[in-house]
């Protein structure tokens, strides 16, 4: 009975743990970083989540999170929504290593936490006829640290996707490879090529505590008229 009363009083007294605790109460070794970055050729959006055993972390008390991309510092905005708190940056086309630094006056700082954005490229919109192949061309890459996927969507076909084994800068898709949707026929198609990369590192390699997991995509989309 006494335990029940205690449980009842705790929320009333405001003793529940905060959803986004201040960083001053959390050791650097308890921080896990998750980053997602997407570049559509015009705009790059980066979202960084910093998690701890007691929830999303709000940086306070002089702690400062920074992002460097394309050789330039990118201002981070704090975003709070129904899912918690995260940090977001938006800037133009960029590729290569993106770097997170966490500077802490009262605890260990983290610098040079890097994740990889695949190389930027341009995708050419092909001219096609109703039955001809769809020949795509783009700037070839070395494909060493990323995967490449061609995807084609339209109202008259089932979504088509093909993972490429090499990034040669060209790929041709035959209409016969599409599965018709509904009545089939011809319709405008959205053709995209996506280069994707994941990075998974330990923040402290000696203690094996703390981590960064990042997913990045460099995607281009063109719309082509596909019809008689």
């Amino acid at each position: 009975m006494r335990a029940f009363a205690f449980a009842l009083i705790l929320p009333i007294a405001g003793c529940a743990l905060p959803r986004s605790p201040g960083s001053g109460d959390i050791s650097t070794l308890d921080l896990d970083f998750t980053a997602e970055a997407h570049d559509d050729g015009a705009t790059t959006v980066v979202e960084i989540h910093v998690d701890s055993p007691v929830g999303d972390v709000r940086f306070t008390g002089g702690d400062r999170l920074t992002l460097t991309a394309g050789g330039s510092g990118r201002p981070l905005t704090v975003v709070e929504d129904g899912d918690g708190i995260h940090y977001e940056a938006s800037f133009g086309d960029a590729d290569g290593d993106f770097t997170i630094d966490l500077l802490r006056p009262h605890d260990r700082s983290i610098t040079g936490l890097a994740f990889y954005m695949p190389p930027s490229f341009g995708l050419a919109a092909p001219d096609i006829d109703a039955d001809g192949p769809i020949a795509l061309t783009w700037n070839a890459g070395d494909g060493q640290r990323y995967t490449s996927t061609v995807a084609i969507q339209g109202d008259c076909i089932e979504p088509f996707a093909r993972a490429l084994s090499k990034d040669t800068g060209s790929y041709t898709v035959l209409p016969a490879e599409f599965s018709p949707r509904g009545a089939g026929g011809r319709c405008p198609l959205d053709v995209s090529l996506e280069r994707a990369s994941t990075t998974s590192v330990e923040v402290n390699e000696v203690l094996r505590i703390g981590s960064l997991y990042a997913t990045t995509t460099q995607a281009r989309r063109v719309r082509i008229a596909w019809g008689p």
Partner: protein, 230 residues
Amino acid sequence: MGTLKWWAGIALGAAVCGCGGESAPPTTESVALDLLNLTADVKSNGSVILASVKLFDAEYQSVTVAGGDRLLLTAGGVEEEMVPFDGDYIEQIATSATDCAIVLARGDGARITSEFPLPPPFALYAPADPASLSAPFTFTWDADPGEHETRIEVSSPCFSLIQRSLTGDPGTYTIQPADLALSTASYAGTCDVDVVVTRLWARGVIAAELSPSDPVFTSQVRTTRFSASP
């Protein structure tokens, strides 16, 4: 003690006369026709039709052809009795015909015929020029506008298996360098490349006397091999 002997006698008798509760395997004589299921894999390479048939009852137990019944493969005017093999019945007929049927010939002379027409035959051609794995290579076959699917499988010790499924039948397909996940260990010298093109459709119809079934796929399969340089 007398009662014990009595029970022992019953148990011994049951074992000797095979009354242990196990029922005899189902046969074409014991299973009602409308509960007899037939599935078949019928394919042609252009010169031989190969058929594999499985019979089973409503409880998915394999059914054996027994008594005076026989299971027959007919194609191109030839009829051969199918033979049991590893739980199935198989047979082949050397013919380029596309008419094919599986017949359950009953002891009383009745013939229960399931038709398995094959898709149009075709020839498959390897790349005309010497193939290179660093450039696109194209293989071709006789296109057909009919409503069938086309499946392609390209394999080699030098790269990972490539599989494609085409809704139509363009009669040509090109493997591009971006398709090739090269295996560096076996990538010295030339590579053998095997291409299998399968034309298939769901036009097989199980005899109305048997348990109802969806249409069954039949196929024409062609293979070719060529060498490709790095």
